[in-house]
């Protein structure tokens, strides 16, 4: 979320900057009007000040009536009519007079009404609400409008908060039946100071001049809750506050008074008797008045009891920046960012300290100076970090928490880490400090690593026009700025290691002249001196006349990890070996699949666990697809087991397979459980590879505890063979990969006994057109129950007796506890 929540009474949009002349009213009970009179001396006695204020206000009422300001109000209203009706000033004056006559109002009242409509601020809203709900009494509406405008004018004109309080009570609150009012301001430590009061008496005010932080009073409820609180009776609520001794059963309302997302104080209104629920119109009037208070609190200089002049001293950001650089944890200095209407919509990152490290790995320059929600969109969701910052900024109450979940986006993949957080307000700025747990930091860097593994960037070259389109990631891959032109295929050799020039030349010849799909790997030398291993796969697109129109393809960064290097070597060998013979893309796919995933048993050094795998490609090469398996010992000595199936066939499916298999391996190194792994893998499938869905089952075996934790993503569950029985494991909750941006996967743990066998397989083993999956699985279980001479034989048996008729490729992985 962003911005304050109006309905909760959080700080809201300000009053218009227009200094509206105040209306006076002709009737005798009308409140006086204040202009911008001189401030009374602060050190006068309270009574003396009251008398002075009343006298000053009276004088100004006379002045308004005498001519100038009343006329100015009418002039302003005429101006509104000129603009709205498109008429001349004389016509507007006639119109105003006619309207006033017809409505039975004085011209001054009507003028206030017209200005209210034009201004559309909270004062006007409150007056409108009153009109809607109190239609019975003609003339009341006008007097409410005039009364509120008068209070506004008096408050804005008053020289100090004490005068504001007195003015509010007289003009706006006594008509509502209230007997006393207090205006509190919040200190930087969330303490409350009584800045203005009326109706409580000087002694009681002196007793309540300061409320330390942490002491719960009625006003504090409004501050910490950031909302208006109505107490039908203070004693019934059991909450202390100023004047409770004199009016124990009286009603109270406390309203936060804020501007620009920050609460400057609290307006507290006291009634002598218990308070019935108030009509909405009254609630809105009260909130309009609180807003008025906020503006005066913001505008007035801090006076006597305030130790820290936190409002007057600018936003304090430079000092805070210097302080933050002395911290050993990452820290951000934030200042509020307001929209045109003065609403808090975001925070500006004013400073990133010396120890700052971006969770997404971006350079600090791209974060420093940015808006918080733009740099870290994820702060608005999940952990509600933005909410907390907003709250600290509003209330001044610091926030500290250990092990808070922080979410950041790494290449569009949300990464959650745990961190200790501290948020505090200093002057107008907010200091955010966090300490990421070591484990989380490690996960973050590993995930970035894993992201790089799956990094694929697509390109398209129009051979006729020479236009080249690059996926954004390619610029980064090539180390080029997005303002630089993309590198054409023909110029590729100029960017590659000289030893790879021949490889690239053969590749280009195949694609551009023989017009066949081809793939090669080469070392790219970037401007910045970095060498990357890239694989490029390209496919010619022919026009209807058989001529070459375009070349489409993708580059993949394959330099990130050792195992990729190994796969690369294999791929290169295979590709070189087949380049002469390759007739079609299908063979390339098959080679690719074999290179990445040799059909032979992987060397696996897992104590107490036998692992066997079988991969049977589809008989028809055009159907070779996206099945994969993986079995690898992780750094933790646990064993990752996985089979998966990317939907579709051909190069696209095989590429998707490579990405997912690579990503899963990288992710598994983090030590996360299979449910979390699949959740990440789902994000990878959804974001990084276009239109790819896949199913997978993933298990992590702990040899020490002999347990298998597993989860599934739209895939058939594993089969457990124990003794002479075989059963499929339950259908845990888990959507297939890539269907939704975010998905959660149920996890289950299975304790294995010596001799137990677990089988994971792709649907090539069971899929039959004429048989429901349920029956096919039943047949598979029947075969699995047959006695067999070891794990390898069992897998052979399963493949041999497989009833599949869809010629899909098939993967089976079997593990047996020895």
């Amino acid at each position: 979320m962003s911005g304050p929540r109006h309905q909760d009474g959080a700080p809201s949009t300000g009053l218009p900057g227009r200094a509206a002349p105040s209306p006076g009213t002709p009737d005798a009970t009308a409140p006086p009007t204040a202009g911008g009179g001189p401030a009374p001396a602060v050190d006068e006695l309270v009574d003396g000040r009251l008398a002075a204020t009343v006298e000053r206000l009276r004088g100004e009422v006379r002045a308004a009536h005498a001519a100038s300001e009343g006329r100015a109000l009418v002039e302003l209203a005429k101006g509104v009519l000129v603009e709205r009706l498109g008429c001349g000033p004389a016509q507007a004056a006639r119109h105003l007079a006619e309207l006033a006559d017809r409505a039975g109002l004085s011209r001054l009242e009507l003028a206030a009404d017209i200005i209210n409509q034009a201004a559309r601020d909270r004062v006007a809203e409150a007056a409108d609400a009153f009109v809607r709900t109190n239609v019975a009494e003609p003339g009341t509406a006008a007097s409410v409008a005039v009364r509120l405008r008068t209070a506004e004018s008096a408050a804005l004109g008053a020289g100090d908060t004490q005068a504001v309080a007195e003015s509010l009570l007289t003009h706006a609150l006594e008509p509502l039946g209230a007997v006393a009012v207090a205006i509190w301001t919040t200190g930087p430590d969330a303490s409350l100071s009584l800045r203005g009061h009326a109706g409580f008496g000087a002694d009681e005010a002196a007793r309540w001049h300061y409320v330390p932080p942490g002491v719960t009073t009625a006003a504090r409820q409004a501050l910490t809750g950031r909302r208006t609180v109505w107490y039908p009776s203070l004693s019934a609520a059991g909450i202390p506050s100023i004047g409770r001794a004199r009016h124990p059963d009286g009603g109270r309302v406390v309203v936060p008074a804020g501007t620009g997302g920050r609460i400057h104080g609290v307006l507290e209104i006291c009634w002598a008797r218990p308070l019935d629920p108030q009509p909405q119109a009254v609630e809105r009037q009260v909130e309009a008045l609180a807003e008025l208070c906020a503006h005066t609190l913001e505008a007035l200089p801090g006076d006597a009891p305030r130790a820290v002049p936190d409002l007057a001293a600018g936003d304090g950001a430079p000092e805070l920046a210097a302080l933050s650089d002395g911290l050993y944890d990452p820290a951000l200095v934030l200042t509020p960012h307001l929209d045109e209407a003065g609403r808090l919509v975001d925070f500006r990152i004013r400073h990133v300290n010396a120890h700052f490290q971006d969770p997404a790995g971006r350079p600090r320059g791209s974060v420093d100076g940015a808006l918080l929600l733009e740099a870290y969109p994820a702060t608005a969701g999940g952990g509600d970090l933005f909410d907390r910052i907003e709250r600290v900024h509003a209330t001044g109450e610091p926030f500290r928490a250990r092990r808070t979940r922080l979410t950041s986006l790494v290449d569009q993949v949300p990464l959650t880490s745990l961190a200790d957080i501290s948020i505090s307000r200093h002057g107008g700025s907010v200091l955010l400090i966090w300490r990421v747990e070591d484990e989380s930091a490690r996960l973050a860097s590993l995930l970035q690593h894993a992201q790089r593994l799956g990094r694929v960037g697509a390109f398209e070259e129009d051979v006729v026009t020479g236009d080249i389109t690059w996926h954004g990631q390619l610029f980064e891959l090539f180390g080029r700025r997005t303002t630089e032109p993309p590198v054409a295929l023909r110029d590729l050799a100029a960017h590659a290691h000289p030893d790879d020039a021949d490889t690239i030349r053969r590749f280009l010849q195949t694609v551009l002249y023989q017009r066949r799909v081809s793939s090669t790997a080469f070392r790219m030398l970037r401007h910045d001196g970095v060498t990357r291993h890239l694989r490029v796969t390209a496919e010619p697109a022919l026009g209807t006349d058989g001529g070459l129109q375009a070349v489409r393809g993708a580059y993949q960064d394959i330099s990130a990890q050792h195992w990729t290097e190994v796969a690369l070597t294999a791929t290169r060998d295979r590709l070189v070996a087949t380049e002469e013979a390759a007739e079609e893309r299908n063979r390339l796919t098959l080679q690719l699949q074999h290179a990445i995933m040799p059909p032979a048993k992987p060397p696996l050094d897992a104590p107490g666990l036998d692992v066997a795998v079988r991969y049977r490609p589809a008989e028809s090469e055009s159907l070779v697809g996206g099945d994969w398996y993986d079995a690898v010992v992780l750094p933790s000595k646990k064993v990752l087991l996985c089979v998966g199936d990317v939907a579709g066939h051909g190069v696209e499916a095989a590429t998707g397979m490579v990405v997912l298999r690579n990503a899963l391996r990288g992710l598994a190194v983090t030590g996360a459980g299979p449910g979390q792994l699949l959740s990440w893998l789902n994000s990878v499938a959804h974001h990084l590879t276009a239109h790819v869905t896949a199913t997978a089952v993933c298990g992590v075996y702990d040899p020490e505890r002999r347990t298998l934790r597993w989860a599934r993503a739209g895939h058939l569950p594993p089969v457990l063979v124990r003794g002479d029985d075989a059963a499929d494991l339950p259908l845990l909750r888990g959507l297939l990969l890539g269907a939704l941006a975010e998905a959660e996967y149920e996890e289950s743990e299975l304790r294995l006994e010596p001799g137990d066998t677990v089988l994971m397989y792709t649907d090539g083993l069971v899929e039959r057109r004429d048989t429901a999956v349920h029956d096919s699985v039943a047949q598979l279980l029947a075969v699995a129950r047959l006695p067999s001479d070891g794990l390898e034989r069992r897998l052979d048996q399963l493949l041999a007796r497989s009833k599949s008729d869809t010629d899909d490729d098939t993967c089976v992985i079997g593990v047996q506890v020895s």
Partner: protein, 122 residues
Amino acid sequence: MAEQEPNLDVDVEIRAARTAVLSVGGELDMETAGGFEEHLTEQLRHGRCHLVLDLSDLAFMDSSGLNVLIRSVHRARDAGGDLRLAAPTPAVRRILEITGVTTTMPPHEGVAEALAAFGGAR
């Protein structure tokens, strides 16, 4: 084995300006998925984004078919509508369950129920 005759029948019935029912019979697999997706694309292009798939005669569906369903439901929802599945056969229902698709696109008993689920949105 791969050279089986494409075996998929699709009947389109337009029920309202933005609503169509597609009856799908036969086998929805990698052979037929492409053609089937064109049917759905055609409906979306004509602004019919409230789509019901009557699956009562669909005997078989593989991952390619499933992929079309998932892509199409996203596109229908992006267009302000939805794609609903009606009356899947036990075999197809089982596939939907295994792949978890029942949680994001719960199948309806019949076409009438699926249409009713659109409520006044048509």
